[in-house]
Amino acid sequence: MSVIEYDVIIIGAGVAGLTAGAYLAGRGFRVALVTKGEPTACLSTGGIDVCSYNDNPLLGIKELPSDHPFHLVDEKIIRESLDNFQTAMNEMDMPYKGSAEKNRFILSALGTFKTSCLVPSTMEAAAQDAKESIHIITFKGLKDFYPGYIISRRKNAKFSIYDAGVSSTMGIASHFEEREFLEKFLLWLEKQNIYQDKIAFPAVLGLESATKITDTIAILTGKPVFEIPTLPPSMPGRRLFNALKKYFRKKGGEIYWGWPVIGVEKSEKIIEAVITSSKGRPNSLNGKAFILATGSFVGGGLTATREAIIENVFNLPVHVPGPRETWFDNDYFSLNHGIGRAGIIADSSLRPAGTPMENVFVCGGILANTEILKNGCGHGLALATAHLAAKSCMEYIR
């Protein structure tokens, strides 16, 4: 028995799921999103990587192997998805900077450069080369962020330590949301005599007001200020997730937390409902179409056993990159682990291949042959395929 009729049920609360959901909800569809927990987007740097192959990410996409799912999405849709994303983030007071034609760099906590396409405005001022001198402010006891790594790579960097009273990223970030804390911090900062070109912080400058806080510090010091993404817990990732979530709700979407899908009701060609576990009775949600955006292994969309790889929700056929010996490269840090190619193969409307199901669409990291780490295409691919899946979904319902 189903509780309420929806047009579209989205499974997965990551960048892909929330984006597809907001797109559809904003066009008048009744959308519900079910999720087991919070997405891996929370663990990310918050940057939207489109493709790191080329200085121009849109040209880089063209150089990707022919079976890469980016080739299923028209360039017009990719541009649209990036534009829509920037508009949404502006609306949520978390502007993203950058252009689809030019990659930029984020300075990493190791002092290396990470390529990204659109970055949160708090990282816009990030040093783009080794020439600019930077002053790093870090916090007493903060684990997983050591300015020494950065300084060892760049001679023109210095650091100071502030005692925030707490030492966790989350704790410091929520303190920055308090006016008194910020004022006290700014008084301290003024006394630091910073002569370098730019001021860098680990990414702990607030939760929902990060843009404002970064700007405040920049105005006060008269120097460009930027954040350096940290290891998880990653505040820029969490801000991205929170903003997408809020935007989806604002468009009229509904989110069901803690609803892992444990079964489906289906006829020959149609999925009718997803069943999710709950503390009491199982819940069931029915819809006209379903978008699968559960991510790959870490996100919970795929599970690997010794012999096979399983898609956890609809049990769709999974593209397995070859016999098990080829799943992993001998070098742990290699970007060529075969398992990075595992996933669902989809057609040009993002319907999964090898199944008769007509009303299921797949997007994001669960797609096959993405090799996200190697190609540097995580959130960008999620945005683009989410748009395509949402469009296909609309076409199907009409």
Partner: protein, 395 residues
């Protein structure tokens, strides 16, 4: 408890309200799955910090791998409570039910004592916080009501919970009238504290005692064709989650399958076509604070479905913050600073919405948010009653 499924991604840590403000608490990942690898039932629990977990369950709701850090910690809290002498505050709050029953019997005196400076000083001596006023006991509790307003086809045994019973019986009466107006036959079955306060204060034996009594009573009603409807989301979570799990109540499965949150039940009645309520206009702009335990019930936010049907009502959902009180947690002096910091943060987010009133399903959330902000904090059922013109019987 599947702590081995933890991939150490720290999403739970990001969601832990206590970890954010109290450096003494190592966070759900370390206190839960990480530490669990080194625990043995044959060794005494020496980690006092397990008591700092407020059992909001946010870690469990966030975990992408299905690990239950709060549940792991809850077990350790019970072991700690058993192996170590209890503080006065823990003992009192575990026995909140008896304390409240006494308070209600002596309501005018008890309320007076609780509100005087001497009374507050006494509380503080006992390790009990007084930063927000203690809720007022009501002499006329809900369980004293004898009524059967209607005899519909649908039959409901109303598990009203201690908060409604001892402090806000007026809301309870409204709910009874609301369900009756929907042609539902409502009874107030014999009931005791759900057991959650006892669990939260490390008193497993007392929690079991309450749970067994409730289960026997509710189970009889279910056999007689009644659905159980709860309104306190923490009572609900205890019935649905803790009875089958840590409390090992034999009738738990039956109770879980037949229990409904009030708003979930009303939606069910609407979906089944049993009622077609004619919602009147409610001109309010509200911030709907989602109690952590409503989230943890995994039933979605059913009250929002009703709110969406009420003309004129503007609401914004806030489900990222814990109010900080967590039942008796924030009333303990040792947790006061945590509770106040979290409460103020929740309020600053509420203020940003521009809402005039706060709405929350949980009595203790309302107590905290209303008490710290001075804003009106309402139960969603009160909004619903306002829309349908249902009043407490006295007027």
């Amino acid at each position: 408890m599947n702590f081995e499924h933890c991939i150490r991604c720290t999403i739970c840590v990001e969601n832990c309200p206590v970890f954010r403000v109290n450096p003494e608490f190592p966070g759900p990942k370390q206190a839960g799955p990480d530490a669990q690898r080194f625990r043995s039932d044959r060794e005494r629990v020496e980690d006092k910090w397990v008591l700092l977990c407020s059992q909001c369950k946010r870690c469990e709701m966030a975990c992408p791998c299905g690990v239950e850090p709060a549940q792991i910690i809850l077990r350790e809290q019970q072991r700690y409570g058993k192996e170590h002498p209890q503080t006065a505050a823990h003992l009192l709050f575990a026995n909140n039910y008896y304390l409240s029953a006494l308070g209600s019997l002596t309501a005018p005196i008890a309320n007076m004592v609780a509100s005087t400076e001497t009374g507050k000083k006494f509380f503080r001596k006992m390790g009990i916080s007084t930063y927000i006023p203690f809720p007022k006991f009501r002499f006329r509790t809900l369980r004293n009501e004898k009524k059967n307003l209607n005899t519909g086809i649908k039959k409901v045994a109303f598990f009203f919970g201690c908060f409604i019973n001892f402090y806000r019986p007026d809301i309870g009466r409204k709910i009874v009238r609301l369900l009756s107006a929907m042609n539902v036959d409502v009874v107030l079955p014999p009931q005791w504290c759900c057991g959650l306060p006892a669990l939260g204060n490390g008193n497993l034996a007392l929690a079991k005692y309450f749970a067994q009594k409730n289960a026997a009573s509710l189970s009889n009603y279910i056999d007689a064709g009644y659905d159980v409807v709860y309104t306190c989301t923490s009572c609900g979570l205890c019935l649905l989650h803790d009875y089958p799990d840590i409390l090992k109540i034999p009738q738990a499965k039956k109770i879980a399958e037949n229990s409904y949150d009030l708003h979930e039940y009303i939606i069910k009645l609407i979906n089944e076509g049993y009622i077609k309520p004619d919602f009147g206009e409610v001109r309010r702009k509200i911030a709907y604070h989602i109690p952590c335990h409503l989230r943890a019930l995994e039933i979605g936010y059913p009250a929002t479905k009703i709110m969406a049907m009420i003309p004129g009502l503007e609401y914004e959902i806030l489900d990222d913050t814990c109010c900080g009180l967590s039942g008796s947690y924030g009333f303990k002096e040792s947790n006061e600073s945590t509770a106040v910091q979290l409460g103020n943060r929740a309020i600053s987010l509420i203020r940003k919405t521009g809402a005039k009133d706060i709405v929350a399903d949980c009595g203790s959330c309302r107590m905290q948010l209303g008490g710290l902000s001075g804003m009106t904090a309402l139960d969603p059922a009160e909004i619903l009653c306002e829309s349908l013109g249902i009043k407490d019987q006295k007027s």
